[in-house]
Amino acid sequence: MADASIPRMGPIRRLKGDLYLAYRALIAHPLKRLFSTDVRSGKQRFLDNYAPEGLVPMSAEDRRILQDAARCIHCGLCDAYDLALAVISRTTYDGASLLPIAYSRATPDLPRARPALIALREEHLARSEAVCPTRVPLRSIARYLHRKMDEVIRQQQRSAAPSIKAPVA
């Protein structure tokens, strides 16, 4: 059923809208592509647009790991058995529970977690993972974070490179 609060579009306006879309698809875009010097595909340009913000593509495997991370119930039991806490300073790393509830939430923030992720070893997390009531795969998440952190840093370096030019006089 149509929503009465949305004004109905008249046939002339609808026709004008459709014609404009057709013009964009059939004339403007092909011409733009014909004279463009950018050889990248649309997908690549889309990805490149987001790279400086630290947003990198997610594979099906990545999404599965994030779904597993979402099982965390924030009970903090993993922190009680986290061996890394004995070797990494608290200003750098606050415990295994950060992996599912903080670090894995946003790839743009991963470069800031770099010191913690570099200091963290998988063997630190083995017991934490074993006691987790909801079986959050902490070690898989740590591997995922390492991978994504590398991707984000690589992407950001690549996208930052063109701007490191001598200022125009």
Binding site: C75, A80, T91, D94, V131, P133, R135
Partner: protein, 419 residues
């Protein structure tokens, strides 16, 4: 808790036992005390009514809540104390014997909670027996514990109980490094176990204690392993009674309880296998461990917990993942019920969703779809059983111990009979 008690009881009866668990359950997240039964008829705020025998309160729950495990097992309720004593005997440094009446133990939220059994360092903090003047310790760098909240809450609760109580706050500067402010409760508890730490903590407190204080209440971080360090602190403070308040999650006393159970299982010679268990053909009695090994036990106690332990799962619908047992909310099937119909409108309401579980008969055998026992070799214990909310009903660990004890015994009897 339920699974460990069942295993210990079955072993004590002479059965050969293997305990298989996916991971730690909700016991490690508990307050560390055992809530057996509050008075269900007590009006909110009437703390005097809670000072009853847990057994009497359990009988009252059985009378007024027909789906509660205490009601289903009402004929066996005279063995409740026996079950609690059995648990206390297996956790000698960690649990006091069952209390004659519920103790009102302080929580970090400034409330008190009726408990039928507690850790030795917690039991003395019973609001009804605390001296008139107490002090609550605030760690200067621990933002997760608010001693003011506890002190004012205790004074208010004491007035509801009809007694006078004056609670001062003592700020300890024992933890003073900038890193200490970022440490979690488990780490702070471990730091207190370092050689000389408790002496230094006592020295720091001694200089700050107000005159005339009759007891000291401590944050629940008094030692990560074994029993609490509260007694040691008491010795260092010239015999001043020192008690630990209950914990919320993350819980150091809860971890102590869980590790105490692990030690009890080791002492009893019960192998613990940490892996997922699957059953490809429910009813066959054959289970596959995470290693791929198949086992066919003569009797099984299902003590898989509820939503935290993974015994009951809800992803769009409720289901029991191991044997696909029928689930009940009250007396009706729960699997396909709309979740909104099973939740109350306010937090303190009766949320049937958190009471969903398998239904048992009076022999603790889960019922199948036909209404009869699903498998005569299968027994259930703990929060996988329907009819109670282990987190909110204040009967959580009490039911776990009681049903674990009876289920372990029943499983062992079946095995020994077959021999």
């Amino acid at each position: 808790m339920a699974g460990s008690i069942a295993a210990l009881r079955a072993k004590a009866k002479g059965a050969q036992v293997i305990l298989s668990r996916r991971a730690f359950g909700a016991t490690a997240l508990s307050s560390g005390a055992v809530d057996v039964a509050p008075d269900p008829a007590a009006p909110p705020g009437d703390l005097k009514s809670q000072l009853v025998s847990p057994e009497l309160a359990a009988r009252e729950i059985a009378r007024t809540r027909p789906n509660h495990p205490y009601a289903v097992l009402v004929d066996k309720l005279d063995r409740l104390k026996e079950a609690l004593s059995f648990a206390a005997a297996h956790l000698p440094d960690l649990l006091c014997p069952p209390l004659v009446r519920n103790a009102l133990l302080p929580t970090p939220l400034g409330t008190v909670k009726p408990a039928g059994m507690a850790q030795p360092a917690q039991a003395g903090a019973d609001l009804a027996s605390l001296p008139q003047s107490i002090a609550v310790v605030q760690l200067s760098v621990n933002p997760s514990f608010d001693a003011q909240l506890v002190a004012r809450g205790l004074e208010r609760s004491a007035s509801l109980l009809g007694r006078k109580l004056s609670a001062a706050v003592v700020e300890s500067h024992f933890f003073r490094n900038i890193e200490d402010a970022l440490r979690g409760c488990y780490e702070l508890a471990e730091l207190l176990e370092q050689p000389g730490a408790i002496d230094e903590f006592a020295r720091d407190l001694r200089t700050r204690l107000p005159e005339g204080v009759g007891a000291l209440l401590l944050p629940p971080i008094m030692g990560r392993h074994g029993s609490s360090l509260a007694a040691e602190l008491s010795n260092r403070l010239g015999g001043l009674p020192c008690w630990e308040i209950l914990s919320d999650a993350s819980s150091v006393p809860g971890i102590r309880l869980q590790e105490g159970l692990n030690s009890a299982l080791t002492r009893a010679g019960i192998p613990v296998i940490e892996s997922d268990v699957t059953c490809s053909k429910p009813g066959s009695g054959v289970f596959t461990l995470g290693s791929g090994e198949s086992i066919e036990p003569r009797a099984v106690v299902l003590a898989t917990g509820k939503f935290i332990g993974g015994g009951i799962v809800r992803t769009q619908r409720f289901f029991e993942p191991l044997l696909d047992l029928p689930l009940f909310a009250g007396s009706t099937r729960a699997e396909d019920q709309y979740i909104g119909d099973l939740l109350a409108e306010n937090v303190q309401g009766k949320h049937q969703a958190f009471r969903v579980g398998v239904r048992i008969d009076s022999s603790l055998r889960p019922l199948g779809a036909s209404g009869g026992p699903f498998d005569p070799r299968l027994f259930a214990a703990g929060s996988v059983i329907s009819g109670y909310d282990p987190a909110a009903d204040k009967t959580g660990l009490g039911v776990a111990i009681f049903t674990g004890y009876l289920a372990g015994e029943a499983a062992a009897s079946l095995v020994l009979l077959a021999r």
